[in-house]
Symmetry: C2
Subunit: 359 residues, 2 copies
């Protein structure tokens, strides 16, 4: 049965890393006999906005809902379109309107990548951030009073729901339960954020009662960020609100060397809508167009997509190929962020070849 | 003229590091002929709460307002009093009701302290976080609807005012202007937090026009946290909202090795109310009572207090003594977090002696 994948390259380096993501997926499909059909769209990009005055066409929802998964590059080009316009008009709509309420982001130190943390080796850092992905601090509710005057007051509401919080907690506890260490860390800030966060803590405690085998701890986000640097080995599954998860899932990958390799999955666990797979990095206007962007985040996101689509062996083969190429450390192949002098394409080709030739 | 300092040790290790802070201040006062008078209070602690049912006595405001500065230890003991009760009843009231709208936190890699970041040496990391300290995400406005039911919705408002934001930006720009690099970095999240943060960006841009010599850049908080780990040398003055500043000012010190040494100043720049000086670390119930807490954060906060009170040479002498003792690296004196086996008191005494004997 054909699985249909919508391809949205987006902006900037999204357009450069996407071909390498597809190359890896095609190599894996050939090797594992998967029947994948890709269809590319130019919307959800700033260029589309400049031409059409909006980020998405009217029929985007039914169009994309018909796919089995969405494979996304990167979005945003602040010199063309303000970030809050481009993001709220695309990625953040996908997450919300396709109810992709789990943002799953592995943080793993890979072989051949130098961690900025002293003395850390592959195996020392290996955890997941589970981020709530539809509500919380990312709200557009609020406004400005006395605008443009000295009395100006700007208000923005954080909105959390029991439905929204409990379901992502459940996902995180299930994930912790399935892992050898069975440990869950909750990111809070109940000492400063006085209404939502103490309530978040009570929801974590309530859910924890249903998982007696899972060891639960919690840290305020400030000291938790510090512990990511000082003790990344403490963590197994970290569950966090939308904003805290956003911060931790850039910080975690930074501790593993480069956010250029970090993948993410925006998941609708019930499968009512397609899930979306994208690298953690952004569109990087500063290096776009030079062919030097690291494609591994995009490729690894593809591996997560195959796993989600029911092909764990194919996903694992992509990740193994990434690890093998990194471990080899050929400076002619690795991109500059990995201290090599290779191009996006050279690194992508090396990984695709490795996928094809693995036995 | 006598300068009066209110001493509030607070909870946990606050009670252990405070005597060492005072020892250093007294040594500096003797050497520089300062006339300092200390008065200790037992309120603003969880024990006081257990006895009196509140964190502060009725007359706390006039009582403390009569002092030239407040010297604070650490607060919170979640097993006795929930954090949001103890903090909102003390420290957060001081900051707000004494209008200490600047929270100034140096991040500096000191000699003899091993950074968790590979290959970083003293001099490589040396910047300030300027945190808005009275409004923003730390609000108690909001509430719960459909409480205790499946429909439960919890709302918390972030409130920013032009007055509140502009004045802390001005402080940060003035600080950047006064430093050799003249560089200011703004922490934002205008791509996700759609109302307050785009507005924050416009206020930064407006203030920047008044400081043509200051180079301004801005990063979203997620990638900024990553850059703290990957490129701590990029930063000079980082200005941030209350929550973002909270996170960055634990993360920055973590990158310099231990948050046990990090100091902070809660400043009312106009001097209408006393400013408050406290270590960044908390009350650390896990190690309290063992006499092994690192007193340097408390002592360095005292140095910031002396500078604020108009005694920069005395403040510098304390910092120089800290650096000298750290550089010496006597494991019998350094506390366990610094990989030594010394006690809080041993390290405090070593620093005080150094202050007295410097020439
Ligand atoms: C204890 C807590 C409320 C406080 C804060 O978040 O401001 C602390 O983390 C700090 O940074 O001073
Ligand atoms: C681009 C931005 C809106 C987005 C977010 O904050 O969610 C990104 O940082 C991410 O983590 O996917």
């Amino acid at each position: 049965m054909t699985q249909r994948i919508a391809v949205l390259a987006g902006d900037g380096i999204g357009k450069e890393v996407m071909p390498e993501g597809l190359r890896a997926l095609e190599a894996a499909a050939r090797r594992f006999g998967l029947d994948l059909a890709f269809e590319a769209f130019d919307f959800a990009s700033c260029d589309y906005y400049l031409e059409h005055g909006r980020m998405l066409p009217d029929d985007w929802h039914p169009t994309l809902a018909a796919f089995d998964a969405l494979y996304y590059g990167a979005i945003g080009w602040p010199d063309k379109v303000p970030d809050h316009v481009s993001l709220w008009g695309s990625l953040l709509r996908f997450r919300r309107e396709f109810d992709q309420y789990v943002n799953l982001r592995p943080c793993r130190l890979l072989p051949g990548i130098e961690s900025p943390l002293a003395g850390r080796a592959p195996g020392d850092i290996d955890f997941y951030v589970v981020r709530e992905n539809t509500e919380g601090e990312y709200s557009s509710v609020g406004g400005t009073m006395f605008e443009g005057t000295e009395r100006e007051v700007v208000i923005q509401e954080t909105v959390m729901t029991r439905t929204g919080v409990d379901r992502v907690l459940k996902y995180a506890f299930d994930l912790a339960q399935s892992r050898p260490r069975k440990k869950l860390t909750s990111a809070t800030k109940s000492n400063g954020i006085a209404i939502t966060m103490p309530w978040w803590d009570t929801r974590v405690a309530a859910m924890g009662e249903r998982y007696p085998e899972v060891e639960v701890d919690r840290f305020h986000i400030d000291i938790l960020a510090a512990h990511f640097v000082l003790h990344p080995d403490w963590f197994d599954v970290v569950v966090a609100s939308n904003l805290f998860g956003d911060i931790l899932s850039d910080l975690g990958p930074a501790c593993t060397g480069t956010i250029g390799v970090a993948p993410s999955a925006n998941i609708n666990p019930e499968g009512r809508f397609p899930s979306l797979f994208e690298p953690v990095h952004g569109s990087a206007p500063d290096i776009a167009g030079r062919g030097i962007a690291n494609p591994i985040g995009q490729i690894w996101s593809g591996a997560m997509m195959l796993e989600h689509l029911g092909h764990p062996a194919a996903g694992a083969a992509i990740l193994a190929a990434i690890e093998a190429v990194l471990a080899e450390g050929d400076a002619g192949v690795l991109t500059p962020d990995l201290k090599g002098r290779g191009t996006t394409e050279a690194l992508g080709r090396a990984i695709a070849e490795r996928i094809a030739s693995q036995t």
